[in-house]
């Protein structure tokens, strides 16, 4: 270090230990940029949180339902006029014959508990109970004719407005404009809750029950459409897995480099990006208009979803076939196996965990898909009939879980919104289970070569 060089060095503008303005600016920009990233991730997670919270907060209520538990006197004079307890004769008494009995039973509870209410006749009780209660009592009576003449305790669904009141969905201010229920009914409901006659309980019928007509949201359940989804998933599994695996094996192991192979590959990647509603149009035109398969049948839904899921399954199957090292194939060929044998005896079993994982994820995707089902008619009617047997399960009109949720979301009564959210919880539980199984399969059987 010489004096000359010292003199030639211009005075340092700043020092590394103290930031100058420009460095400060750059560091601030750096900080800001990082904050944007954190904010973006925070926004994504916030949306996820809001979504989950609103699903849970709006949907959990659907699993609880308000029930009225009252002893009903099964009056022989009304239910069995001839007195011979013959179910065939008693079946002539329609649900209209049972309604008054239930109303009287509830009114008897009003008097027994000494509840002061301006509603002074049993007819006024009608607004409290679900229209399904009479059918419920009738079914029990027809199944056990000997009960006539006795007083039997029934647990009946309360009307949807009563349920809504207890869940906070129906406010007292709204009731003034509602012709289904009056404020007095709500007072009575409060009194009944205190008396322990009306209570919210877990409602298994929401999970396994059938859908109900538009005016009875308290009765609607997801069970039948769940079976519809099950039958569709069977079709998808039976068709998409073998076809998808066969197609992937061909493309990955045997296909020569030619035009046809290129065409197939381009087609598969394009099909994966075709909007799902277009598959619905395809299903409508080909399976229903052209092949005259029945509308709304889970078989048709399954076929459409199969075509939609195939690209997903093919892409993941090819990836897992590709992951099997060539040395396995070479060893098999070296021992005298044919190419087909080496693929089917060695490569395919090793790729199986990956294939199954991909298939489960494809199935989960198909389970949640709604749009194509709308076009082949799986909405717009009420799925009340359980399929009896396999053929009926595949061919008879049915709904599917997401289509049922859509159907509920469209109905006018806000009580159905709660049902729709509840249905979403069930649907998401299924999807979560499938994805967890896929993850476990991958963790358990994944092999690194």
């Amino acid at each position: 270090m010489t004096d000359a060089s010292m003199g030639a060095t211009p005075a340092a503008k700043g020092s590394l230990t103290t930031e100058d303005a420009r460095t400060k600016k750059r560091n601030a920009a750096e900080k800001r940029f990082q904050m944007y990233g954190i904010a973006a991730i925070g926004a994504g997670l916030f949306f996820l949180l809001v979504l989950l919270v609103s699903i849970l907060s709006s949907g959990l209520g659907a699993f609880q339902q308000t029930f009225i538990e009252v002893p009903v006197y099964l009056d022989p004079a009304k239910l069995d006029k001839n007195g011979n307890r013959d179910p065939a004769e008693m079946a002539k008494v329609s649900t209209f014959g049972y309604g008054p009995l239930i109303e009287q039973a509830i009114f008897a509870q009003v008097e027994a508990n000494g509840i002061a209410t301006p509603l002074d006749s049993s007819k006024d009780m009608k607004a409290l109970i679900s229209a399904s209660a009479a059918a419920q009592v009738r079914d029990v009576v027809l199944a056990n004719p000997d009960l006539v003449g006795e007083t039997v305790s029934f647990r009946m669904l309360a009307a949807s407005r009563v349920d809504g009141y207890l869940k906070g969905r129906v406010q007292r201010e709204d009731v003034a404009r509602d012709k289904n229920i009056d404020a007095e009914h709500l007072d009575l409901t409060d009194a009944f809750v205190d008396a322990g006659i009306v209570a919210k309980q877990f409602n298994i019928d929401f999970v396994i029950g059938a859908d109900a007509s538009e005016s009875r949201p308290e009765q609607a359940g997801l069970g039948v459409s769940m079976l519809g989804s099950l039958f569709m998933m069977i079709v998808v599994l039976v068709l998409a897995l073998p076809i998808g695996v066969a197609a992937s094996i061909y493309l990955e192991e045997f296909a020569p480099q030619n035009r046809w192979t290129d065409l197939i590959e381009v087609n598969i990647s394009n099909l994966a990006a075709v909007p799902s509603i277009v598959f619905g149009i395809l299903g409508l035109a080909v399976f229903i208009q052209f092949a005259h398969l029945p509308q709304s049948a889970p078989l048709v839904g399954g076929l459409v979803l199969t075509l939609m899921t195939l690209p997903t399954i093919i892409i993941s199957t090819r990836a897992s076939l590709k992951a099997v090292p060539p040395s396995i194939r070479d060893a098999a060929l070296g021992l005298g196996a044919s190419r087909t044998q080496s693929v089917f005896h060695h490569v395919l079993p090793l790729a199986m965990p990956g294939i199954l994982t991909g298939t489960i994820i494809g199935l989960a995707q198909a389970l949640g898909e709604t749009a194509p089902l709308l076009l082949i008619g799986m909405v717009g009617y009420i799925a009340t009939n359980y399929p009896d047997g396999l053929a009926s399960g595949f061919m008879d009109p049915n709904s599917a879980m997401p289509a049922q949720i859509y159907e509920w979301a469209k109905r006018a009564d806000p009580a159905y919104y709660e049902r729709a959210w509840g249905g979403i919880i069930i649907l998401l539980l299924f999807l979560m289970t499938m994805n967890i199984i896929a993850i476990i399969l991958r963790r358990r059987f994944e092999r690194r070569w």
């Binding site: 395809l282 080909v286 979403i424």
Partner: protein
């Protein structure tokens, strides 16, 4: 279900063939496997394949072709006079199908006997009454030609089914015998079976092509049919969407422009939500985040992609809509009238697309080689300067491709817009107004009334065709951009 039984019978023959072929081959080698060309099971499979595959193929082809042949033979029987004003041959033929089905059902229910059902001299009016008594749906009073056509249709249908069963079974047996004759020790059974397997694999792979052909054909035929009833120029350029629900009146206005406007507007809002969030999330996750944060945040974001669209639809309608309404509704600024609006659907769709953008961009950013980053740091750039001036430009084609793919997703999305966007077709700039989209109109035109002959229903196919072309075009463009402008790093 005779077809099911037929299939089972063919499979049974194939199974017998497997056992026979295997033992025959073994016997011809004197029970010594070493003398066989292939393993014994290949001889069995060869016979089973030859028995089952041609027979089942014929069955499928027959099932597809027979209705056309029968229809062709029957439709010649219907005189011009039967086709009334405003009707066409297809509707009359549907009536014939219904009647013939009604006859079969009535016979099956035991209400009329086979001879009555086949009696060519039957009085149409009494027949109508008897069918109605049997609970069969017969819309109007049957006329003599329709009844005769229905009877003929039924007879042809039945005999066709019998001939089919016969031919299929004979073919299966012929295949069985052919295979059995081949089951000799020196026959190269494995090679034959493997060729068969190869053919099956090719067939499975070709289903993807068949699906595309099916989509294109079903769209094209119905679109052409639509343009025959409705001028194409009006469909593409009319500014009005007002289908009449009365039926075949000429008063419907079916212009695609308002629907396209709604679609693009909603997709634009969705991208405005999804692209910044997704892109910044991807940058942070791949450049800044510690492995621990990444391991938690990335899968959580991807949960958003696994949620079915119906959930987002409900979320839009019942959560986002009311929130927006309380902020922009009549109580405050009065921009928004109802829960359903472009914003409602757009925000929900944007949330759905966040993981789509972020994971695609994440992959692309990760593919930028480390040496570029190191070079930039070496020149004194900060991390954010490196990202903005080196990494993002290098990853740009891929990111543009990802955004285009997301746009194609948004345009084809159905459930969110069906629930969240509204039903009225509008050309408006206000994002808080309800608008509708191509997909939502496809759903509303094709659900409910199932008269596929009216322009109001057929327009859905033209809309579907437009949607298919647009999304396909975007995908191809995305792939092209990625391929063309991708930097090659070695």
């Amino acid at each position: 279900m005779p077809v099911l039984w037929l299939v089972l019978a063919v499979l049974g023959i194939a199974l017998v063939g497997y056992v026979l072929g295997r033992s025959l081959a073994l016997a011809s080698a004197g029970g010594e496997i070493r003398n066989l060309h292939s393993l014994p099971s290949y001889y069995g499979s060869n016979v089973a394949m030859k028995a089952a595959v041609p027979a089942l193929l014929l069955l499928v082809v027959w099932l597809i072709v027979q209705p056309f042949v029968v229809n062709g033979m029957v439709s010649g029987m219907i005189p011009e006079s039967e086709i009334s004003e405003g009707s066409n041959l297809g509707l009359v033929m549907a009536e014939v199908h219904r009647t013939s089905e009604g006859l079969s059902n009535a016979v099956a229910a035991g209400i009329i006997d086979e001879d009555t059902a086949r009696n060519p001299g039957a009085d149409p009016e009494t027949m109508t009454d008897r069918l109605k008594d049997a609970g069969q749906v017969v819309t109007s009073t049957l006329t003599a030609p329709i009844l005769a056509a229905a009877q003929r249709y039924r007879a042809l249908h039945d005999s066709g089914a019998w001939i089919m069963s016969g031919v299929v079974l004979v073919l299966a047996l012929a295949g069985l015998i052919w295979g059995l004759r081949e089951s000799q020790a020196e026959f190269r059974a494995r090679n034959t079976v493997e060729q068969g397997i190869r053919a099956l694999l090719i067939a499975a792979a070709s289903i993807a092509v068949l699906t595309t052909i099916g989509i294109v054909l079903s769209l094209i035929f119905n679109t052409i049919e639509f343009f025959r009833l409705y001028p194409a120029a009006e469909f593409f350029f009319s500014l009005n969407w007002a289908p009449s629900f009365s039926g075949r009146g000429g008063s419907s206005e079916l212009g695609i422009i308002p629907l396209l406007w709604g679609t693009l507007y909603i997709s634009f809002v969705a991208l405005v939500v999804a692209v910044p969030v997704g892109l910044f999330a991807a940058v942070y996750l791949s450049e800044y985040a510690t492995p621990k944060v990444r391991a938690i945040a990335k899968p959580l974001l991807e949960v958003l992609a696994g949620i079915p669209t119906i959930v987002y639809g409900l979320f839009a309608l019942l959560t986002i809509g009311p929130i927006l309404l309380s902020v922009f509704g009549d109580d405050t600024v009065g921009w928004m009238q109802g829960q359903r609006a472009v914003m409602t659907a757009g925000i929900a769709m944007g949330i759905m697309l966040i993981p789509f953008v972020s994971s695609l961009s994440d992959d692309i950013i990760n593919a930028v080689p480390q040496s570029l980053r190191d070079g930039s740091y070496g020149l004194g750039a900060t991390k954010s300067e490196t990202i903005k001036q080196v990494i993002l430009p290098a990853a740009l084609p891929g990111i543009v491709g990802a955004i285009l793919l997301a746009a194609s997703r948004a345009i084809g999305e159905t459930m969110i817009v069906v629930l969240g966007a509204g039903a009225a077709a509008r050309l408006s700039l206000n994002p808080f107004e309800a608008m509708t989209t191509v997909t939502a109109k496809i759903v509303s035109q094709l659900t409910g009334d199932s008269d596929f002959a009216s322009p109001e229903a057929l327009v859905a196919f033209a809309l579907g065709m437009s949607l298919f072309v647009i999304t396909l075009g975007l995908n191809v463009l995305a792939l092209y951009i990625v391929r063309k402008y991708r930097e090659q790093y070695e």
